[in-house]
Subunit: 336 residues, 2 copies
DNA sequence: TTCTAGCACTCTTCTTTATCAAGTGCTAAC
DNA sequence: GTTAGCACTTGATAAAGAAGAGTGCTAGAA
């Protein structure tokens, strides 16, 4: 591909992203100072290379998946944020009260709002977290709340109904033993250490140790199963407004997938380990017309993943710019 | 309306619920052992009373909103659950480990699954809850988690970034003061008592009292604003499969509303205080073709609201039966 | 060699028209 | 009070035609 062909591909992608209509040769004459016939010839080349395609023999061209990919990898110029975008994000970025994870969540909400795409925040998943402490809070005679907190501030709480014979004092004592012995243990190993190290101890000291063990095991098991990641999807409904989703069947299918947390987690987090990844079209596994841009971050030991889900016809440069801005600002803030 | 007309209305509603097609006079001949002409005459009466309507002059009849309402209030026979429905719910109902609120949540998930309608669980809202305790858990030198727990076991946690000068010891001491003085305070009054009773005390004792006050205020403010209710909507995408939602615009609008927690909370909880309420069609405020069935429960002091959102053409008897079953079983379980 | 003008051709979209089937309302007779 | 019969209305579906957009290709110009 020579320079002119690259320029043409870029123009086609950007025009299509803006207008959502197949791009005809005439519409690009002015821009390139060439006749439509010449543009058509060049388009034929791009088509034979697989970068653009047409819906029907006599329609304008639209970028193919590899066209978008080429655009993202070679042609796209990172877009400077507009003033109003920055302004909206700054209200979050400048807020010193917010802890990193909340700040990122809120920024992603704003990004979803600005772009009308869906955004995903996958909280620093508990993998790698260490147990900080467990606490038992008695609620009334036969109800307690068990709290588990990790070194990164992830908190899980679970209520339990007690039976007559279970002694709250024994529960609290057990929590103290756990805190003494297991603080600092990787969270996903806690359950097994609970069984092999704590259970034998309490078995000797306590009457209702089976039940007590059961309660702590239960409270910790969400972490063990790595289900503690809190995933949040914002703009689920908003992204459906994108014009490519105009058919009832497509919309339903998409809504269904966006509503499925496990699936979204898979798409956003499980597929590979790259820091930045753009899944275009079929690669997204969401819908052939959909793109997922994901970024992992690791700021001062707190890690997580954010992603934007939108149509294949996405404003790639803008989204990249927004994500860059947010994560950079967070990093800056942390260094202060 | 005489008996026959009521029977006819009942048959029309139930046929329409099953087939989703306007009900013609012929299709009811067999059932009533009458000619189609007679049925037509009776239908004309029902139509003039406003209980049924037709899409076009020559289409079959469909129940109107007041038709459904009459059906729900006078004609519907509560439906016995099928064996498989009971079976699925029992796995939750019989589980002794589950606390009431979790058990109800999980039952509502199953109900959504069984019916393909959306279901809503509005956790016992914090109104009426009393402060049980606040705790500060230090995460590292400049990060803490503040926990607030109520007498009904509702827990909120929030992370805070500390500035250099804030002393964790002072924070913990303040939490102890709060626990001593404010335990038992209605949760929505805590914030103001914090300002007028606690703030003066810590202002004398502590260096960075402004910041400390700010943190506790923040941690408690969600409760003050009654935003602590955790609302959960299940089957958001599934209900879109209902055949009345076959038009892209309608689906988008519905998806949008189901995705809006504040709106759903309004629909399900704010409109009135009845224990059981059926909002049909426009009354639902969700969509003219949609019905919301809501039920409030109060079991052993723990209260909340559950709701089912589905098409106006809903299996009313079945949904009522399912909700009855779940709440009755919960009550039984509690009494044991 | 590169670009352009011109033209036939293809395919979509929109409108119009015709036909079919379902179901009604009304009338007259049982 | 019930029914048979019939004219009428309407939506849904398919077919046919016209308009518009855009292409590919050829032949000639720069």
């Amino acid at each position: 591909m020579d320079k002119r062909q690259e320029d043409l591909l870029k123009a086609i992608v950007e025009t299509y992203v803006k207008t959502v209509k197949p791009v005809g040769s005439k519409s690009l004459c002015q821009k390139f100072k060439l006749s439509s016939a010449t543009i058509r010839n060049e388009m034929a080349v791009l088509e034979s290379l697989g970068y653009i395609e047409k819906n029907h023999i006599s329609s304008g061209r639209i970028p193919s998946e590899s066209g978008y990919r080429y655009y993202v990898e070679h042609l796209m110029e990172p877009e400077k944020l507009t003033g109003s975008d920055v302004l909206k994000l700054q209200s979050i970025v400048k807020n010193q009260d917010l802890v990193l994870s909340d700040a990122i969540s809120q920024c992603m909400e704003i990004i979803s709002d600005l772009t009308s795409y869906a955004s995903v925040v996958l909280g620093s998943n508990a993998e790698g977290n260490l147990l900080k402490q467990v606490s038992i809070i008695p609620i009334d005679n036969n109800k307690i709340v068990a709290l588990v907190c990790t070194n990164k501030g992830v908190v899980e709480n679970k209520q339990f109904q007690l039976e007559e014979q279970t002694d709250i004092k024994e529960l609290i004592k057990t929590s103290e033993i756990i805190n003494k012995m297991l603080t600092g243990t990787p969270i996903n190993e806690v359950a097994s250490r609970l069984e092999f190290e704590i259970k034998p101890i309490i078995a000797k000291q306590m009457v209702d140790y089976e039940r007590i063990y059961h309660i702590f095991y239960n409270a910790l098991s969400d972490f063990a199963m790595q289900e503690a990641d809190d995933i949040r999807v914002v703009g689920r409904a908003k992204v459906l407004e994108q014009p490519e989703y105009n058919d009832a069947e497509t919309i339903k299918k998409l809504a269904y997938k966006l509503d499925d947390q496990k699936f979204i987690k898979h798409v956003v987090n499980d597929k590979d380990n790259d820091e930045l990844k753009v899944y275009i079209g079929k690669d997204s596994e969401v819908d052939p017309n959909t793109t997922v841009i994901k970024r992992k971050y690791d700021i001062n030991g707190e890690s997580g993943t954010v992603a934007v889900i939108g149509p294949k016809r996405m404003e790639y440069a803008r989204v990249m710019g927004l994500l860059d801005y947010v994560l950079n600002e967070m990093k800056k803030k942390d260094e202060k």
